[in-house]
C-alpha cells in the first residue's frame, strides 16, 4: 500500500471538495458509517441532517435549482435508498442536477438478501439520468467525478452512486477532477447554424408569433434568461412561460402573457392556439401544456430549441428542431438576426398585439376581490405585495391548487427564484426544498406556499429547520380539503368527493410551536396583512395557517384532453360536452 492511498470514504470526501461541494443533505445508517466518520473529522463540508431521506433529496433539489449547482445527498442502504427514490424521480422529471450517494452492503454480500440490502441500481435505473455500482476502489474517484459531470452537463438530472461499505473502507488512489473526461457522454451544446438561420427566416416572416419558453432556460443559467429577454425586446414578440420556466422573463415585462397550459391565462393559451410561428425555447410540450395534441396550435410553424434530442418530436412534430443549449443557440440566433439586418413584420405584429390585448381584457385570473372570506388568490397577492420590499425572495410550493395560484399570482422577475415540483407533482416537495434554498441563500426570504394536505407529507422537516436555524416560512392556504382532487371530482365525477377531505387536521399553530418554531393564524381577511407581516419579520421558522375559502377552485382551466381554446373560466362554466373517454383517462 503506497503512502498516498486513501480509504474509499476519504476519496469520496476529497472528490466532493474537489467538486466545490459545500453542503450535503443526508441521513446516516450502518452502510454509510465510514463516510460519516470522515465527515466528523473535517469541517469544510457541512452536513444537514434531515428527518427522512425523501426530505434530503428535495432539499438538494431546492439547493440546486436556486443556485444552478449540483445538489448532493447521502443516504444509507436499503430503506435509506428506497426513501430517496421519489425525490430522484422528481429531479429526473424536472431536470435537476443531483448526485446521490447511497450506502450498499459489502460487495461479497450483494445478491444475498443481506441486511438492509436493496438492488439500488436496479430500482433507480429508470429514475436517474445515470447510476453506478462502485465496486472497484481503483476507479472510485473517476466515477464520482463522472457522476458530477453527467449530473450537470447536457440536460441535467440525478445520478446515483451506490457505494458498498467494503469499498468505503478499502485503500486506493485519488485522481483529481481535472483529469477526468467522459468516455462517451458528449451532449451537443452549440446549435446547427444552418438550422438557426432557417429559424431566423421563419421568425422574420411571422405575423402572429409566440415565444413559448420553459425550464430549459432556467437550466441553461441566468445568461440564457437575459438572452431570452433580449430576443423578446428585439422582436417585440409575445412570450409565455411554462410552470417550470417562471422567472425566465420578468413577469412585469409587457411582452409576458403569463403562464400557459391547463391553468394558464386565456391570452397565453389563445395566442398559442392561433399563432402562425411558435418558438419553443427549452420546454418539452408537456401534456399539461398541449392539451389535446391533435388540436394543439394547428396552424403554426414550430421551432424547438432543446438540448435533449429526445424532447424534439416526442409529442408534437416540429418543423425546425435545433439541438443545443438555450444560451448558446439564442446567442447565435441574435447574432444571425442582427447580421442579416432582419426586421419583423411590424404592422402584422402590431395587429397581433391588438388581438392579444383583447384576450387580456378578459382578465382570466380575476376572482371575487370583495369576498369577506380570505380568497386563496388574495392571500397570495398580499404575500407578493408584502414581500416586495425584501430584495431576495424565493418561493417553493407543495402540489395542488395552492401551487397553481402561486404560479398565477406571485410574480417572478428573476430566474431560480421559483422552486416547484412540475413533472412529478410531488406533494411534500416544498418544505424540504425550502431547506435547501435557505441554506444556499441565508439572508433571503424563503416561503413554502403550501396546502394543508401536502405539508403533512414531509412535516417532520420542521425539525430540520429548527435544528439548523433556518427561518423558512410555511404559508399554508388551508382549505381543509385536497382542493385539486376535489376540483377534479366536481368536474368529472359528479361531485362525489371521495376521500378528498382532510379530517382530523392538526392545530398548525401548536404544531409549529411543538417543533420549536413560530405558529401564526389568520381566519379573517383583516388579519391577513398583519400575519404576513409578522411572518416575514420573524427570524425563526414560521408556520402561518391561513384559513381560505374552501369552495374556491382554480381557474382558468383547460380540462384534460381539451383544446387550448376550450377554457373554463369559473365554476359557473360547465363543460361544453361530456368529457370524452380520451380526456377522462388523462391525469
Amino acid at each position: 500500500m503506497s503512502k498516498n492511498q486513501l480509504s474509499g470514504a476519504q476519496i469520496l470526501l476529497k472528490a466532493l471538495n474537489d467538486q466545490g461541494v459545500d453542503v450535503i443533505f443526508g441521513y446516516p445508517g450502518g452502510a454509510v458509517l465510514p463516510i460519516y466518520d470522515e465527515l466528523f473529522k473535517q469541517n469544510k463540508i457541512k452536513h444537514i441532517l434531515v428527518r427522512q431521506e425523501g426530505g434530503a433529496v428535495h432539499a438538494a433539489e431546492g439547493y440546486a435549482r436556486s443556485t444552478g449547482k449540483v445538489g448532493v445527498v447521502l443516504v444509507t442502504s436499503g430503506p435509506g435508498a428506497t426513501n430517496a427514490v421519489t425525490g430522484l424521480l422528481d429531479a429526473m422529471m424536472d431536470s435537476i442536477p443531483l448526485v446521490c450517494i447511497c450506502g450498499q452492503v459489502p460487495t461479497h454480500l450483494i445478491g444475498n438478501d443481506a441486511f438492509q440490502e436493496a438492488d439500488t441500481t436496479g430500482i433507480t435505473r429508470p429514475c436517474t439520468k445515470h447510476n453506478y455500482l462502485a465496486k472497484d476502489i481503483d476507479i472510485l474517484a473517476r466515477q464520482i467525478h463522472e457522476a458530477f459531470l453527467v449530473a450537470k452537463s447536457g440536460r441535467p438530472g440525478p445520478v446515483v452512486i451506490d457505494l458498498p461499505k467494503d469499498v468505503m473502507m478499502a485503500q486506493g488512489d485519488y485522481i483529481s477532477s481535472a483529469k477526468v473526461i467522459h468516455k462517451s457522454y458528449r451532449p451537443q451544446i452549440k446549435g446547427d447554424i444552418s438550422k438557426i438561420e432557417e429559424a431566423v427566416k421563419v421568425i422574420a416572416g411571422a405575423k402572429k408569433p409566440i415565444i413559448y419558453a420553459g425550464g430549459g432556460v432556467i437550466n441553461s443559467g441566468p445568461q440564457a434568461s437575459q438572452l431570452l429577454n433580449q430576443l423578446v425586446q428585439m422582436t417585440d414578440f409575445p412570450c409565455t412561460l411554462t410552470l417550470m420556466g417562471l422567472g425566465a422573463l420578468p413577469a412585469s415585462d409587457k411582452h409576458f402573457l403569463g403562464m400557459l397550459g391547463m391553468h394558464g391565462t386565456y391570452e397565453a393559451n389563445m395566442a398559442m392556439h392561433d399563432c402562425d410561428v411558435m418558438l419553443c425555447v427549452g420546454a418539452r410540450f408537456d401534456d399539461r401544456v398541449t392539451g389535446r395534441t391533435d388540436a394543439f396550435s394547428p396552424n403554426s410553424t414550430k421551432i424547438h430549441i432543446d438540448i435533449d434530442p429526445s424532447s424534439i418530436n416526442k409529442t408534437i412534430n416540429v418543423d425546425i428542431g435545433i439541438v443545443g443549449d438555450v444560451g448558446h443557440v439564442l446567442e447565435d440566433m441574435i447574432k444571425v438576426w442582427k447580421s442579416g439586418q432582419n426586421r419583423c413584420d411590424e404592422k402584422s405584429i402590431k395587429s397581433w398585439w391588438k388581438t392579444i390585448n383583447k384576450w387580456r381584457e378578459r382578465k382570466s385570473l380575476s376572482y371575487d376581490k370583495d369576498a369577506t372570506v380570505i380568497k386563496p388568490q388574495y392571500a397570495i397577492e398580499r404575500l407578493y405585495e408584502l414581500s416586495k420590499k425584501h430584495n431576495e425572495v424565493y418561493i417553493t410550493t407543495e402540489v395542488g391548487q395552492h401551487q397553481m395560484w402561486a404560479a398565477q399570482h406571485f410574480h417572478f422577475e428573476h430566474p431560480n427564484r421559483w422552486m416547484t415540483s412540475g413533472g412529478l407533482g410531488t406533494m411534500g416537495y416544498g418544505l424540504p426544498a425550502a431547506i435547501g434554498v435557505q441554506l444556499a441563500h441565508p439572508k433571503a426570504l424563503v416561503v413554502d406556499i403550501a396546502g394543508e394536505a401536502s405539508i403533512l407529507m414531509n412535516m417532520q422537516e420542521m425539525s430540520t429547520l429548527v435544528q439548523h436555524n433556518l427561518p423558512v416560512k410555511v404559508f399554508i392556504l388551508n382549505n381543509e380539503c385536497m382542493g385539486m382532487v376535489k376540483q377534479w371530482q366536481e368536474l368529472l365525477h359528479g361531485g362525489r368527493c371521495a376521500e378528498s377531505y382532510m379530517q382530523a387536521l392538526p392545530d398548525f399553530v401548536k404544531l409549529a410551536e411543538a417543533y420549536g418554531g413560530v405558529g401564526l393564524r389568520a381566519t379573517k381577511k383583516e388579519q391577513l396583512d398583519s400575519v404576513i407581516g409578522e411572518m416575514i419579520a420573524s427570524d425563526r421558522p414560521v408556520i402561518a395557517d391561513i384559513a381560505v375559502d374552501p369552495k374556491e377552485n382554480c381557474f382558468p382551466m383547460i380540462p384534460s384532453g381539451a383544446a387550448h381554446n376550450e377554457i373554463l373560466f369559473s365554476a359557473a362554466d360547465k363543460l361544453g360536452a361530456e368529457v370524452s373517454e380520451d380526456g377522462m383517462v388523462m391525469v
Binding site: R125, L133, V150, P309
Partner: protein, 175 residues
C-alpha cells in the same frame, strides 16, 4: 405546419455501440420495456477489446415518430457511444443463425435432409430419430426454413437474433 406522418409501423434494424460495463444491457432493455417499445430481436457481444466496447443489434418496429424517439432515447443513455438506424442509413447486411431440431423417421426424415440441403443448412447433430440443423441467413430465410420443418417433425428451435452491418466502408464508429 407539419403534415401528419402516416401511422405506418415499420421494422428497423438499429446498431448501438456501448461501453461494455455491467448493467448496460439492462439500461437498453429497461428503456424499451419502460417506454413500451417493441423488441423483435436483440443481440449483444463485445466487439472491441481494446476500448471495451460492445455492439447491440436491435430489431424494433414503430411509426416514424416512435422510431425517431427510440433512437434519441438510446443516444441519451450515458454509456452509449453511437446509434445507427441501418434501415434509414442505407444498404446493409443482416444475418442470424438458427439451430433447428426435428424428430422424425422414414420419408419425413429424408425430406428434412433434402430441404436442409436446398437451404444450405448444416447438420450439426444427428441420432437415429433426430437432426439438429444449423442455418445462417436473413430472418426471412430462417422463417421459411423453419416453416417447412413444421410438418417434418420440428420440435425445437434456437435463434440468435439479427447481427447487422452496413455495406461498403461505412462503420459504426466511436470518437
Amino acid at each position: 405546419m407539419v403534415t401528419q406522418i402516416a401511422d405506418i409501423e415499420n421494422a428497423h434494424t438499429m446498431c448501438v455501440l456501448v461501453d461494455n460495463e455491467p448493467g448496460v444491457l439492462a439500461r437498453v432493455i429497461g428503456l424499451f420495456a419502460g417506454r413500451g417499445y417493441n423488441i423483435e430481436s436483440l443481440t449483444v457481444a463485445e466487439v472491441n477489446i481494446v476500448d471495451n466496447l460492445s455492439r447491440i443489434n436491435i430489431v424494433t418496429s414503430g411509426t416514424p415518430m416512435v422510431i425517431e424517439q427510440i433512437k434519441a432515447q438510446l443516444e441519451r443513455l450515458v454509456p452509449v457511444h453511437r446509434v445507427s438506424d441501418l434501415t434509414v442509413e442505407g444498404p446493409h447486411v443482416k444475418r442470424e443463425v438458427a439451430l433447428v431440431k426435428v424428430h422424425s423417421s422414414g420419408e419425413k426424415r429424408v425430406e428434412s435432409l433434402r430441404i436442409a440441403d436446398i437451404f444450405r443448412a448444416r447438420t450439426v447433430d444427428s441420432t437415429n430419430v433426430s437432426f439438429v440443423f444449423e442455418i445462417v441467413g436473413d430472418t426471412g430465410k430462417l422463417d421459411a426454413f423453419i416453416n417447412l420443418m413444421v410438418p417434418l417433425g420440428l420440435i425445437d428451435v434456437s435463434r440468435t437474433g439479427v447481427a447487422a452491418i452496413a455495406r461498403g466502408v461505412t462503420v459504426l464508429e466511436h470518437e
